[in-house]
Each structure stands twice: as structure tokens, then as C-alpha cells.
Amino acid sequence: MTEPLRKERDDNVPGGPWKSWRSIYVTLAVWGVACILFLIWITATLNLDLGPVGGGP
């Protein structure tokens, strides 16, 4: 007895551009890393270490 060639449709997939759960998890992980890199960039470029300042109202 051979296995059927056509796979059954799997309803338990994310949908949209993601064909598997693994792919959507990888996308989300990359997004999380991108957010961290963005904030590192903000800190490095916008936060100006020019002297003992800060804390005013």
C-alpha cells in the first residue's frame, strides 16, 4: 500500500504570506531584533553625551 501523493490541507497554519508556524516565528524574532537595533541606534545618535546635564522639569 503506497502513501497518497496529495497531502491533506492543514488548517493549522498562520495564513497570509506565512506557510508555516516556523516562518512566522522567525519573522517575529527578526522584528524583535530590529526593534533592539533601532533603539541602540537612537541611543547612539540622538543621546548627546556632552556634559553633566539633565533632570530638569
Binding site: 556634559g51 539633565g54 522639569p57
Partner: protein
């Protein structure tokens, strides 16, 4: 607030209420009341997950946090996308397939009844206080606008919300949250637009951002390793991971949300949706706080942001002293404004002399801070308890600089945000009380109608308890910190119980129970006896439960019965 603002506010508020009550007509029995008959779509649950976590505190407390402390609080949220992945892979299948009402039911199926009851009890303790804080937040807004004592506004809102919650179910809560979350997105965009538009002529958003940078407010990432520092990348990534795993994986107010999905796929997608949206939203909200901080370098801020407290002081015998401080504050601000404009000019000319100007700015900041502290000391003296106006900063800016009509809309957004969260929390508290205690221990065979009535009474009880806590919340500093701190006392240990259940096959009931007790005891000890930041409490609690639970499981003899097949790891 003008008449138009009040009209917009009332229309929005009653519209949301009517919508919620209309949706609640679908609730039939306990499963309808607590789980919406498990028919909710993923995107509605996803928005509701965000809305429940966000509430009014996010707008009020987090903007205030950005104003006083810069961006660094965002580090707490950085692990959220990764936590959502772990939850989707590990937690959702266990919870969804077991067809539970509460997360803690799983602990009985895996361990025993006493572990379930302990975890549920800890949730009730932590969440009841947290709900009180959530109830307090919008009362601040109304207090500032109306000039009423905040205790009056807390009480009015509590009565109104409790009444609505008792009649509404989870279906109404989720759909209300959808509307509220969309309003919050709109409110964030509007706040940024009006912040930029309100800058003086000739001063752009880049200039405001530059001043924020000079003042070290774009401090989003801190790589220093210091357990006593509240917010670093390490405390955020490590402590935050456990905080979110505990909150989304072991807190009934969130677990109940994704148990309402009509499939395991939708449960997962609702969490993933949250993973994508949450960090950018927090960046935007904290950014509003930083921009507001820079904004008040060009426009004069009030010396104390709580108008009601200022009015009280001005009617006291120390009014003249307070008035004198206000005059000196205005003069000092004018001098600082001149310095700030000179710094921008020096930057445009290539930076020459900027160093001296920044030292001058630091000196002027110290003067302003000293005057503000002196004014707050007078408020504290008159009030009889410590004054903390961090949570009044954003509402004050809103009512001062927003145009007619939109003030009412923004206030309605804040109010409805809180209402939806309170509603969710009270429903979660009620479900844990009824399902984990009443139905488990006292009346195991009553009718569905009976349990529904008891659920409504439990909601009423927790509403009144949270109301009492809300009346005390004003002395706790930043609201967003207070909520997370209260939760962190117990989240780690509850999460530890679930991780023990999922990953330690040998673990059994009594060791798990003792492990949770050790976890909570250790965290309480760390809280009261050390300076370790609250984000570290969660991994400490988890670690204690896992270590003690695992070791005792090897030492103690397991009971003869084995866990059911569907809940064993």
C-alpha cells in the same frame, strides 16, 4: 474643557457603553460570560490583549515616565516578541487543548488541587491590587480637568464601571477593547502631531529632539550591568522575558482572552499580533513623553502639574510662599529658554561654545528642579502625604494645548481605555474566584444559572476591593511601575509552577506547592530586604520554584495517581 469637549466625551463614553451592553446580550451561561462561547476571531483577541495590557496607565503613566526618565523604560518591553513566540509554542497548546476556563485548572490536572488553589489565590491577590491602580489612573485625568479631589473621581468611576462590568461579559469586553485600541492608536498619532505643531515658530521637531538628546533623554538602551539599576538591557531582556511569560502565560486576565478563540491557530495569532505591535507602540508613547519634556523647554510648565493640589495650596496659609516660588520658577524658566535657544544657535553655527552653554543649562536645570521640589514639599505639607505629580504631566499638557473637541475625544479615549481594562480584570478575578474556588470547593453541582449569578456577585466583590485599593494608589509614584511591581511579587512564582508542569516530567503536587511558596517568600524577602530591581523578581521567583520543586520531586514520593494524558509533558 468646553461644552463641545464634554459633548464629545459623553457621546463617545455612552456610545462605547451601549455597544458593550449590546454585545453582552450574546452571553448565555458561564461559558458565554467568561469565554464568549469560544467564538472570537484572532484579530479582535489580539487587539484586546493589547488593550488589556495597555489601559489608561499606558497613556498617562508611560508618558510621565518618558518625561521624567527618558526612553529607558522601553527596555522592559524588548523581549515581548520573543516571549510571544515561547507562549505560542509552549503555553497555547497546553491551555487550548485542555479546554479550560482558567489557567490554574491546568495545575490541578497536572499536579493537585492545592497547587491550583495557591496559584489562583496569588493571582487574585496580585491582580486585585493592580486593578485598583488601573481604576485610579483615569480618575487622575478627571481630577485635573474638573478640579475635584481624586477620591471623588475614583469613586464616581468605580461605581459606574463596576455596574457596567457586572452586567457585561467577555464578549462585550473584547469588542469594546477593539474600539478602544483603535482609538488609542489614533490618540498617539494626534498627540505627536499636536506636540510638534505646538512648538514655537522657528523650532522644529529636530530641535526638540536635539534638546532631548542634550538632556540625555534618548537613553533607550543601557548596557551597564547593575542589578540595582531598574532599567538596563539585561534586566529588560532577562527580567522582562519572565515578566511577560508570567503575565501572558500565567495571568488569568490574559489567558482568558486567548481561551476565547475559536481555534488554537487563532489563539496563537492573537499573541503574535501583539508581538509585532507592542514594542513600536511603547516607543511612540515614551517618545511622546520625551518630546513633551523638550516641549516644556520652550513653553513654561506649571511648577506642580496637579492643578487640584495647587488650588488647595493657594487656599492655605502657605499660599504666599508658593506664589513666590512660582514667580521665581517662571523667571528661571525664561532664563533656561534663552540658553536653549542659544544652544540651538550654536549647533547651527557648528557647535562653538556649546559646552559652556550646556554647563549653564545644567545649572539652570538644577535651579528649576530645586524650586519644583520646594513647591512639591509645600504641597506634601498641606496634603499630609507625599505628592507625586508624574501622572499629571500628560493630562495637563493635553488639556492645555489640545484644540477644542479633541480634548474631549482624548479624555474619552483615556477613560474608555481604563474602563475596558478594569472590565477585563474584574472578569478574570471573577472567573478565578468562581471556577477555581467556589465551583471547585463549595458548590460542585449547581446549575449554570446559579454560577452565572455567583460570577456577577464575585465581580461586584472584586470591584469594591479594587475601589478601596485605588483610593490608596495615589501615594505610589509612577502608576505603570506600581502595577508591574505588584504583579512581579507573584508572577514569577506562578510562572514557575507552569514551567515545572511543562518541562519537569517527574514533578508532582506537593513539591510544586512547596516550590511556589518558597518562590513567593523569596521574592517578598528580596523586595523588603534588598535593593534588587523589580524586573529581577520574576526570574528569581521562577528559579526558586523550579529548583525547589524539582529537588523535592526527586526526594518526595509521588502520589499513586499519574497526571492525565492530555496534560502531562
Amino acid at each position: 474643557m468646553t461644552g463641545i469637549d464634554w459633548g464629545v466625551f459623553a457621546a463617545y463614553l455612552f456610545g462605547v457603553l451601549g455597544f458593550a451592553l449590546w454585545q453582552s446580550r450574546r452571553n448565555e451561561g458561564v461559558e458565554g460570560f467568561f469565554l464568549g462561547n469560544r467564538t472570537m476571531p484572532w484579530w479582535a483577541i489580539g487587539l484586546s490583549v493589547m488593550a488589556t495590557q495597555a489601559s489608561a496607565i499606558t497613556l498617562i503613566g508611560t508618558t510621565g515616565q518618558g518625561y521624567t526618565d527618558g526612553m529607558r523604560f522601553v527596555q522592559t518591553y524588548l523581549p515581548l516578541p520573543f516571549a510571544m513566540i515561547i507562549l505560542s509554542v509552549v503555553f497555547v497548546p497546553f491551555f487550548y487543548r485542555a479546554k479550560l476556563f482558567t489557567a490554574y485548572e491546568y495545575l490541578e490536572e497536572r499536579f493537585d488541587a492545592k497547587t491550583r488553589s495557591l496559584a489562583s489565590f496569588l493571582f487574585l491577590v496580585g491582580r486585585a491590587m493592580g486593578t485598583g491602580v488601573i481604576m485610579y489612573a483615569p480618575a487622575i485625568v478627571l481630577s485635573t480637568i474638573l478640579g475635584w479631589d481624586e477620591r471623588i473621581t475614583i469613586s464616581i468611576m468605580a461605581v459606574f464601571t463596576i455596574g457596567y462590568t457586572v452586567t457585561g461579559g467577555i464578549t462585550a469586553v473584547i469588542w469594546t477593547d477593539v474600539v478602544q485600541m483603535l482609538m488609542m492608536f489614533g490618540g498617539i498619532v494626534l498627540a505627536i502631531l499636536f506636540m510638534v505643531a505646538g512648538l514655537p515658530e522657528g523650532v522644529g521637531v529636530a530641535d526638540a529632539a536635539y534638546i532631548g538628546g542634550v538632556q540625555q533623554m534618548w537613553n533607550a538602551i543601557d548596557f551597564t550591568w547593575d542589578p540595582q539599576s531598574r532599567y538596563t538591557i539585561w534586566s529588560g531582556l532577562i527580567g522582562g522575558t519572565f515578566l511577560f511569560l508570567g503575565y501572558f502565560g500565567a495571568d488569568q486576565s490574559q489567558v482568558q482572552r486567548y481561551l476565547t478563540a475559536n481555534s488554537e491557530r487563532d489563539s496563537r495569532l492573537s499573541l503574535i499580533f501583539n508581538g509585532f505591535m507592542k514594542v513600536p507602540m511603547q516607543i511612540a508613547i515614551l517618545g511622546i513623553g520625551v518630546l513633551m519634556f523638550a516641549f516644556y523647554h520652550f513653553e513654561q510648565p506649571p511648577i506642580v502639574f496637579n492643578e487640584a493640589e495647587v488650588r488647595t495650596v493657594m487656599e492655605s496659609e502657605r499660599a504666599a510662599e508658593f506664589e513666590a516660588l512660582s514667580v521665581r520658577f517662571a523667571d528661571a524658566h525664561a532664563e533656561r529658554r534663552t540658553t536653549v535657544m542659544a544652544i540651538l544657535e550654536a549647533r547651527d553655527l557648528g557647535g562653538g561654545g556649546a559646552r559652556d552653554l550646556e554647563l549653564t543649562l545644567a545649572s539652570q536645570d538644577a535651579t528649576l528642579l530645586g524650586l519644583r521640589e520646594a513647591a512639591k514639599a509645600i504641597v506634601t505639607d498641606i496634603r499630609g502625604s507625599e505628592s507625586n505629580d508624574t501622572n499629571y504631566i500628560f493630562p495637563t499638557w493635553l488639556t492645555t494645548y489640545f484644540p477644542v473637541g479633541l480634548v474631549g475625544l482624548m479624555i474619552a479615549t483615556v477613560f474608555a481605555a481604563a474602563m475596558s481594562s478594569i472590565d477585563s480584570e474584574l472578569t478574570a478575578l471573577s472567573s478565578a474566584t468562581v471556577i477555581d474556588f467556589y465551583r471547585r470547593w463549595f458548590r460542585t453541582d449547581a446549575t449554570d444559572a446559579h454560577y452565572l449569578t455567583v460570577s456577577r456577585l464575585a465581580t461586584l466583590f472584586w470591584g469594591i476591593t479594587a475601589w478601596g485599593f485605588a483610593l490608596r494608589a495615589g501615594q505610589g509614584g509612577s502608576l505603570i511601575e506600581l502595577v508591574n511591581e505588584v504583579g512581579s511579587l507573584v508572577y514569577g512564582s506562578i510562572l514557575g509552577a507552569f514551567l515545572l508542569a511543562f518541562f519537569v516530567p517527574r514533578a508532582h503536587g506537593t513539591p510544586a506547592f512547596l516550590g511556589v511558596l518558597c518562590g513567593v517568600g523569596t521574592v517578598v524577602f528580596v523586595n523588603f530586604s534588598t535593593e534588587v530591581g523589580w524586573l529581577w523578581w520574576n526570574p528569581i521567583g521562577v528559579g526558586m520554584v523550579l529548583v525547589v520543586g524539582t529537588l523535592l520531586s526527586f526526594v518526595m514520593t509521588p502520589p499513586p495517581s499519574t497526571p492525565s494524558a492530555r496534560t502531562a509533558p
